[in-house]
């Protein structure tokens, strides 16, 4: 696979702890591996270009509600909530114990990617001997470790697997988070294809077979937007207008006089 377009990971780790396999401990740090590069836009006010902020507005009172007056509601039925305070939730949440527990080892390719959630780089912490040993063993055997981690306040099923000369941790989806395609009517009643058709299809697939290279794919929308940004910054510039004090000087003179007048009364 081509290495073009790969980004350098950030130096700072987001988590540190140990991989525990039975009685063996491998000290590791977690680094961000996935960087979302989707095109994002900020919402601006059309008439003055000022960025917009989100506010929590009470639906009934049509009023902005301050943080201290906000609680969480678990919707049991439509519009029916059980209220939770932060204390309630804190007590229920799993505590991060700085451990990646490996329960067993499996064949890496036996896991379907639909369960893959998000990958993190595992780096050795302090001592790299145990890390190197685990990595090499997994590489040689084509295996991956399955286990659990608590990140922040959520517990995830995870996979520890070798990737490109390093260990990578990939969080997995819970079984109940993945829909079963066979429950779709259209998929339930699929007919067996005819033999001649299948032969032809197999030929096409064989002809188009190749090596996987993710760098062949580009986000064309992102490229277009970047081109447009280039053009717009040269010509038609969009500047966020900040309240300019100097511009308002005449107004301030008028205001000063008015305030004086009001004070006299």
């Amino acid at each position: 696979m081509s290495e073009e377009g790969k980004i350098r990971p950030r130096k700072g780790s987001i988590w540190s702890g140990t991989i525990t396999i039975g009685l063996v401990n491998v000290p590791v740090k977690l680094h961000t591996m996935i960087f979302d590069k989707s095109v994002t836009f900020k919402f601006l006010h059309k008439t003055d270009g000022s960025p917009l902020k989100y506010q929590k507005v009470c639906i009934k009172e049509d009023k902005v509600i301050p943080w201290e007056d906000i609680v969480k509601g678990y919707e049991i039925r439509k519009n029916e909530f059980v209220v939770f305070t932060n204390e309630d939730l804190k007590a229920a949440r799993p505590e991060s114990d700085q451990r990646i527990r490996i329960d067993k080892f499996i064949d890496y390719f036996s896991i379907d990617p639909v369960y893959f959630d998000r990958s993190y780089i595992l780096a050795p912490d302090k001592n790299s001997d145990a890390y190197s040993l685990l990595l090499t063993a997994l590489e040689k055997m084509g295996k991956a470790g399955v286990g659990r981690i608590t990140l922040r306040t959520k517990e995830y099923p995870i996979l520890v697997h070798p990737y490109n000369g390093a260990l990578v941790l990939t969080t997995l989806r819970y079984a109940y988070e993945v829909a079963d395609p066979r429950k779709l009517e259209e998929i339930k009643e699929l007919k067996e294809p005819k033999k001649e058709e299948l032969d032809l299809a197999k030929k096409i697939v064989a002809d188009l077979s190749g090596e996987f290279d993710i760098t062949e794919y580009k986000d064309t929308f992102r490229q277009k937007v970047e081109e447009l940004v280039q053009k717009k910054t040269k010509g038609e510039k969009i500047i966020v207008e900040k309240p300019v004090k100097e511009e308002a000087r005449e107004l301030m003179v008028a205001l000063q006089e008015t305030l004086k007048q009001l004070k006299k009364k």
Binding site: D62, E247, L255, T258, L259
Partner: protein, 287 residues
């Protein structure tokens, strides 16, 4: 110095709000700053309703009853069920220069006020005669009716105050002691309107006749819960940036042109014909 003078953060000061006269938002703000002392004496402690024209008067404005999202904390508001809107409204209350400037910065060219104060929402403190001419009747016909009205009110020992609507009509106001209901003020205004009808063929008083050509409609229904009136010295969204201008009764005569009062000259007209109006609360005696 500017930072301490106002809490308002100005935006888009150069936006042209009146295209014919190239009046910018900055000029509108300056106008309202200058008029603040005269406006606040009437405007204070009243729920108000805005008509905003963020893209200038050529584009459709919008009527805003509720304090908009992003209303600063220091702006006073008043929450009350409105009969006309059939729901709770979080009204803005404009008691100081900062709020007035903030409104101007919102391009709230027109400021409409409710005929009562926040502390007694059900009880009006003003009775209003809204005189509106239907073409070919014009301001001339309205002045004729207004003078008859003023004389009738004088005969009842009532001192009335007059202003242009900023368009073709005139508003005649009676500051009243608090204690009457809207129903009572409405019936009072209706009764006087009917009396005028006996005196001149010019007047109609019922909504069904409101659009009769050549007549002056005395709208008594205006004296109702939640109804508003353009506030004195408010700008109007008219091509000439006219103002709802308080006048002396001696100015109310044939030839009066409401378009003579606009953003440019009103600030230079000295005095205030409505000075002390709100201290002159009167009883509505049986007529």
């Amino acid at each position: 110095m500017s930072e301490k003078l106002t809490k308002v953060e100005f935006t888009n000061l150069d936006k042209v709000l009146y295209s014919d006269l190239k009046i910018t938002k900055s000029q509108v703000i300056e106008y309202y700053i200058n008029m603040a002392p005269k406006m606040l004496s009437v405007l204070s402690d009243r729920p108000i309703v805005l008509t905003r024209f963020p893209n200038g008067i050529d584009k459709e404005g919008f009527y805003e009853k509720d304090a908009p999202a992003g209303t600063p904390q220091w702006v006073k508001t008043f929450r009350r069920y409105s009969e006309t809107a059939k729901r709770e409204i979080n009204y803005i209350v404009c008691n100081d220069v900062d709020t007035l400037i903030w409104l101007a910065n919102l391009a709230a060219l027109e400021i409409h006020m409710i005929l009562c104060k926040v502390d007694s929402y059900e009880i009006p403190d003003l009775a209003v005669f809204d005189l509106d001419p239907k073409p070919p009747a014009d301001t001339n016909e309205v002045t004729e009716v207004a003078v008859l009205l003023k004389e009738k009110l004088e005969s009842l020992d009532l001192k009335s105050y007059v202003k242009t609507s900023g368009k073709k009509g005139l508003h005649i106001l009676l500051p009243i002691i608090r204690g009457y209901t809207f129903k009572q003020t409405r019936e009072f205004v209706q009764k006087i309107g009917e009396h005028l009808k006996d005196q001149t063929q010019l007047v109609v008083t019922e909504r069904s006749e409101a659009n009769t050509q050549g007549k002056v409609y005395v709208d008594y229904v205006q004296n109702s819960h939640g109804r508003t009136m353009i506030c004195p010295y408010s700008l109007r969204a008219t091509p000439h940036a006219t103002v709802s201008m308080p006048l002396e009764w001696s100015d109310i005569k044939k030839g009066l042109n409401p378009e003579d009062f606009n953003l440019f000259n009103v600030t230079k007209i000295p005095g205030n014909p409505w000075e002390g109006m709100m201290e002159n609360r009167q009883k509505l005696e049986e007529s």
